[in-house]
């Protein structure tokens, strides 16, 4: 599943000096009645042009909150970015007004594909209406006819067969995989720089997952799109990502080149995640490895390493939060065990 070097466009400069997106020390809080949930607690991430970054973690690890922070679409009124910066193309998105975000960033430079292909299209509008809609929002449509032509072109780009005939069809007339393609066409309509795909394949069957990932790769090769793929599935991430960031309890615990993460995982949490992937042909004797325990509450998180209570290698030092240690040229892990390897 791990892509070889030839399959990875731009694989050489994994972290360029000028990344497309740079997130620094992002802290996103949810203000609930029972307290402040530190959903994202000091996250650093970078995505280069033409690169796919996989953000992997269990539900509640802060990966979706990170992506909603980038789009500035946190749940209202409780969600707030408390600290940090999100720089896309040299502009700090955190400082933009809501109006600027809507007018010239969302859908224009940053796009999103949401989790469920079956519900991400509006059931009462035709596919043709919806695919071209982002062009209308951003004033990029000249006429009705040119919009229709653009819509056909977009559907063709996501490999929908005979798109002219399907323009007036409604979402319920498409299969799940085809609907996800339509959603994808909408997301790339305005030629964005960054695409956030939140579990884009989790509700699709495996062959269609593979097709979707191929589609992402093709689009990326054509346009140099930066992609953030949010998933809980390390297998899916391995198939498409150049780099991986593993999140746990609101923090990035390990990040690096996809091969480093898979071959030399440095953080015990990453190791546990990898062990939890079911393998075909493992036989009946090999039981599925579950990670014991539960992630900590993010209302009052422990001061030390947040994985420590579940960690098989727990040491007294884990009471202090470990800094990010450089394990390889592009490989970092926030674990005291990695200090020796650094």
């Amino acid at each position: 599943m791990v892509p070889t070097a030839t399959e990875r466009p731009g694989g050489a400069e994994l972290v360029p000096a000028q990344p497309l997106l740079k997130i620094e020390n992002l802290r996103t809080h949810l203000h609930l009645a029972r307290g402040i949930v530190r959903a994202v607690d000091g996250v650093d991430l970078a995505v280069a042009q033409g690169e796919t970054l996989g953000v992997v973690g269990e539900s509640g690890s802060g990966k979706t909150m990170t992506s909603l922070s980038i789009l500035r679409l946190l749940p209202k009124p409780m969600g707030r970015i408390a600290e940090g910066s999100i720089t896309l193309d040299g502009t700090d998105l955190v400082r933009l007004s809501e109006e600027e975000m809507a007018r010239s960033w969302r859908g224009r430079k940053i796009s999103m594909i949401s989790q469920d292909p079956l519900t991400s299209l509006n059931p009462v509008f035709s596919v043709g209406d919806q695919v071209g809609a982002p062009l209308r929002y951003h004033g990029l449509a000249r006429s009705r006819r040119s919009l229709r032509e653009t819509a056909v072109g977009l559907l063709r780009r996501v490999r929908i067969p005979s798109p002219e005939k399907r323009l007036d069809d409604y979402p319920h007339q498409f299969s799940g995989g085809m609907r996800q393609r339509v959603a994808c066409a909408m997301a790339i309509a305005c030629a964005p720089r960054l695409l956030i795909a939140d579990e884009p394949t989790s509700n699709l069957d495996v062959t269609i997952q593979v097709q979707m990932m191929e589609l992402f790769r093709e689009l990326q090769a054509e346009t140099g799109l930066g992609i953030i793929l949010i998933t809980h599935d390390l297998g899916v991430a391995a198939g498409i990502c150049h780099r991986i960031a593993v999140m746990y309890a609101g923090r990035v615990v390990e990040s690096g080149d996809v091969r480093d993460i898979y071959r030399r995982p440095a953080h015990p949490y990453t190791q546990a995640l990898l062990a939890a992937i079911p393998h075909l042909g493992g036989g009946r004797r090999k039981r599925l490895q579950a990670i014991p325990g539960m992630p900590p509450s993010l209302i009052d998180p422990p001061t030390g390493c947040r994985f420590a209570p579940r960690c098989p290698h727990r040491m007294p030092r884990c009471a202090d939060y470990p800094p990010s240690f450089q394990v390889g040229p592009t490989h970092k892990a926030a674990c005291w065990l990695a200090e020796a390897g650094a």
């Binding site: 007018r103 960033w105 991400s120 509008f125 929002y137 951003h138 007339q173």
Partner: protein
């Protein structure tokens, strides 16, 4: 689609026949019309002759068959009281009833839709509180009382609007408000809850993430989805306004079908009651049929599955 429409029309016809039988039997249970038509001291043979003359001496089932046979040719008999064809009397009053029902419906929708949508969009804010308060008030105030209050304030105190009668727009305003008052509450609630559901959905979130202006998201993408339950309800309300406006018609002396039927009931004027109720049920069935068909226009999924 043709099969779907055919089936619905058939259902409608069965309902209409059922309604005609019911009203035929029930109106005859209300008493003997001859007693009201002739003086108290009329001799028995005159009463008997009158009864035979009107066909009221026959068994009930034969009376019904005769009525149904004539009704099919458009003949609903002569009004016992006015000595004019019952059908003419009904058709004469029908436009005023439809006019009032349409006005009542327009009033309720114009108030309920913005109120419901805004309450959903600004959930938990003061707008939501006002909307909820209004909905509760609407539910708690019966139409006839609202009508009387309106007359008291706008006709008697302020002298702005005529208290009764039929004429221009000024005559229509108060009866329409009184008639549309009660449905506002229910419609506001249904719009609000449908909008809350839809606004949470993935496609609205996706639209927002792709930069759709909030106005488009709410009024175009979300509202069209939320409109299906509203339209169902409007069909039912419109039909019941057509048939059930008699209280309002009586208060405002509105020359509509409802008032005519009520008067006919009191005078045991069977042909008029029968024609009036049958027409009301035809309107009711037609409304429901149109509602069923309109779903397809709003929601393509129903178009196909139907």
């Amino acid at each position: 689609m043709v099969g779907f429409v055919g089936k619905r029309v058939l259902h409608g016809l069965v309902s209409i026949v059922g309604a005609s039988i019911l009203i035929f039997v029930i109106s005859r249970l209300s008493g003997d019309p001859i007693v009201l038509m002739l003086p108290v001291e009329a001799p028995p043979h005159v009463i008997e002759a009158m009864r035979r003359n009107l066909g009221l001496d026959l068994p009930l089932w034969r009376q019904y068959l005769i009525f149904a046979g004539h009704a099919l040719t458009g003949d609903f008999g002569m009004s016992y009281r006015w000595q004019t064809p019952a059908l003419d009397l009904v058709l004469d009053r029908l436009p005023a009833t439809i006019e009032l029902a349409v006005a009542g419906l327009v009033f309720s929708v114009c108030l309920a839709v913005p109120l419901g949508v805004l309450s959903a969009v600004h959930r938990g804010s003061w707008i939501d509180t006002v909307g909820k308060g209004f909905a509760m008030l609407g539910q708690a105030m019966p139409g006839f009382w609202v009508g009387l209050l309106l007359i008291l304030v706008f006709s008697i105190r302020l002298n702005w609007l005529p208290a009764f009668g039929h004429g221009g727009i000024s005559h229509l305003i108060m009866p329409a408000i009184a008639l549309g008052w009660y449905p506002v509450a229910a419609q506001t609630r249904i719009v609000r809850s449908a909008m809350l559901d839809v606004l949470e959905s993935d496609y609205i979130r996706m639209g927002r993430a792709l930069g759709a202006p909030e106005r488009v998201l709410v009024w175009k993408y979300a509202f069209r989805n939320a409109a299906v339950p509203l339209v169902t309800m409007l069909g039912v309300y419109f039909a019941s306004m057509l048939g059930g406006a008699f209280v309002i018609e009586v208060i405002f002396a509105w020359p509509g079908l409802g008032r005519t039927v009520v008067e006919a009931v009191f005078s045991r004027d069977f042909p008029v009651v029968q024609a009036g109720v049958l027409f009301t049920s035809i309107l009711f069935v037609t409304c429901n049929l149109l509602v069923d068909l309109s779903y397809g226009l709003i929601d393509p999924r129903i178009r196909r599955d139907g």
